[in-house]
């Protein structure tokens, strides 16, 4: 049931056209950050206003929308965005990746391979992969323009020097079609291989920073690395304790006060689908009812469960932004 006080999908047609132009430009220049005039949305910035605007500009009445947050369909953030579009666009919704035509996501790419015709919309907090190294916007723009990306490797160098390996595990930078270096949003690097050669359209929306960028289907996407420290799409060395999957991205979940832990698929749809087909994990033995899928209440609202549950939280583990590696004074040469 559509709320008649709003235009279809909340945004007026002119705004959607403006956003679609930005999206098309993004698709035409893969990995390039297209500025757009981000609109006020009835939710705070941290809740994915960029993604929501991109989704709004893409939706048609026939769409079937799925919304995930850290792979889960039932977190506060995912539920509220899904409800928002149910109300403002009246579109059908689903939790099944295979059935969705548009999927809005925060921090994950679904495990079930995407298909041609699907659109994956990412919520992006910080679109600029060079920001952490070079805070000056004029300078980062120039660096993209001139393909001066040596600084990205300085970051990886620092990782190895300090930790013995590339410790960056979220928002792992990629190079698109051999040209633009792109921040894939804080997805785990486990998901990076799915960015490339993907039959679906991938769109990235940053609301606060007013940027849209895109990966058209079948884009060539390479994760940056060193010859002697090649990129590795790592994950916890466990199987899912609920469905037994050995190749899905896992969340570590604290189960009790006594240090009990379990590993479960972060993609709830994928995990449930496997269990429905009879797959079982370590903690779902025959005869015993499997524990309900832990559904941490995510969202920047900061639910108390948050700290307890998601050990893998990128915002907790990534280095503090804005610490900066920039060269001191104004140095037009950039590399000093």
């Amino acid at each position: 049931m559509t709320d008649q006080a709003y235009n279809f999908a909340y945004l007026d047609e002119q705004t959607k056209r403006m956003i679609r132009r930005a999206i098309l430009k993004g698709i035409a220049v893969p990995g390039y950050q297209v500025p757009f005039a981000s609109r006020e949305m009835p939710m705070p910035y941290g809740w994915g206003t960029g993604g929501v605007q991109v989704t709004a500009a893409c939706l048609v009445p026939e769409d079937r929308l799925k919304v995930i947050d850290q792979g889960a369909d039932d977190t506060t953030n995912a539920v509220s965005i899904r409800r928002f579009f149910q109300r403002t666009a009246g579109v059908a919704t689903t939790e099944a990746t295979a059935e969705a035509t548009v999927i809005q996501t925060r921090h994950r790419i679904p495990e079930t391979p995407l298909k041609a015709g699907q659109i994956l919309v990412y919520q992006v907090p910080i679109p600029e992969p060079l920001r952490f190294l070079e805070p000056r916007e004029t300078e980062t723009r120039k660096m993209h323009e001139l393909e001066e990306y040596g600084l990205m490797h300085v970051k990886l160098y620092e990782d190895i020097a300090r930790h013995g390996q590339i410790a960056t595990s979220y928002a792992y930078p990629v190079k698109v079609e051999g040209r633009y270096v792109m921040d894939p949003s804080p997805i785990p690097k486990f998901d990076n291989p799915k960015l490339g050669n993907n039959p679906a359209i991938q769109l990235f929306g940053a609301g606060r920073e007013q940027r849209i960028y895109a990966l058209p289907p079948w884009s060539r996407v390479e994760s940056l690395d060193f010859d002697d420290h090649p990129f590795e799409a790592s994950k916890a060395a466990h199987d899912c304790d609920l469905c037994g999957a050995g190749h899905s991205y896992l969340d570590e979940v604290i189960t009790d006060d006594a240090g009990g832990r379990m590993f479960v698929c972060s993609d709830t749809d994928f995990c449930a689908g496997r269990r429905a087909k009879g797959h079982r994990g370590r903690l779902s033995s025959e005869g015993v009812a499997p524990p309900p899928h832990p559904s941490p209440t995510r969202g920047e609202g900061g639910a108390s469960l948050d700290a307890m549950v998601h050990v893998n939280d990128p915002l907790a583990s990534s280095p503090p932004r804005g610490e900066g590696m920039g060269v001191g004074g104004a140095d037009p040469e950039g590399t000093a």
Binding site: V154, G329, E333, G334
Partner: protein, 261 residues
Amino acid sequence: MTLMERMTMTDQPLLRVEGLTKRYGQRIGCADVSFDLYPGEVLGIVGESGSGKSTLLSCLAGHQRPDLGRIAYDGRDVLAMSETERRRLSRTDWAYVHQNPRDGLRMGVSAGGNVGERLMAVGARHYGDIRGKAADWLGRVEIAADRIDDRPSAFSGGMQQRLQIARNLVTGPRLVFMDEPTGGLDVSVQARLLDLLRGLVRDLGLSVIIVTHDLAVVRLLAHRLMVMKSGRVVEQGLTDQVLDDPQHAYTQLLVSSVLQV
């Protein structure tokens, strides 16, 4: 190096500057500066504060665009280059040593990362090689190997300046711009740095343009000297000649004032 050695090395200047002029509104930054710099030559630029030394250097290094004049590097018209070309040149063939090391270093990046950056900027993708070269260069500027993972903020001023030099020289540039490289340092630290610079310049056969107000620095490093006043070159020649037998009244004043120090 003697003049004769220099002349027989090549007769093609590495850098040729003609009529370079830069104004800031009505004020003159530098005016009508012309000179040739030959491979392996060190040119000192001296003059009191405000005489246009930094303006000239930044125009030469491509940090500012002059209003008039021509700059040819290795036969190529620098001012006609695209920005991509010029920035590429400044990462490969050129180097720029700032007076304040904070302006030329990434203070949040380790010493090794600072030295490795230029290598990575020109495509080095082997961590072990990059680290090896960084370690080698730290050694050459007399920074202990075990400081490779420390940030420059933990270094003394002299060490920071030596690190900046290593970071600049690691890619084997041919032309180095230096703006008061010994500026903010204690006298004893200055002496050590000058010694080091002299060795590197000689060993690597670098061409250098060094700006300073310190005549002792040019006496030690520069083959040739350019004296600037109010944005203009008032005298140029071989360093010893200019310092021992200054022709222009202003140069005489400069030289005598240093004698008083």
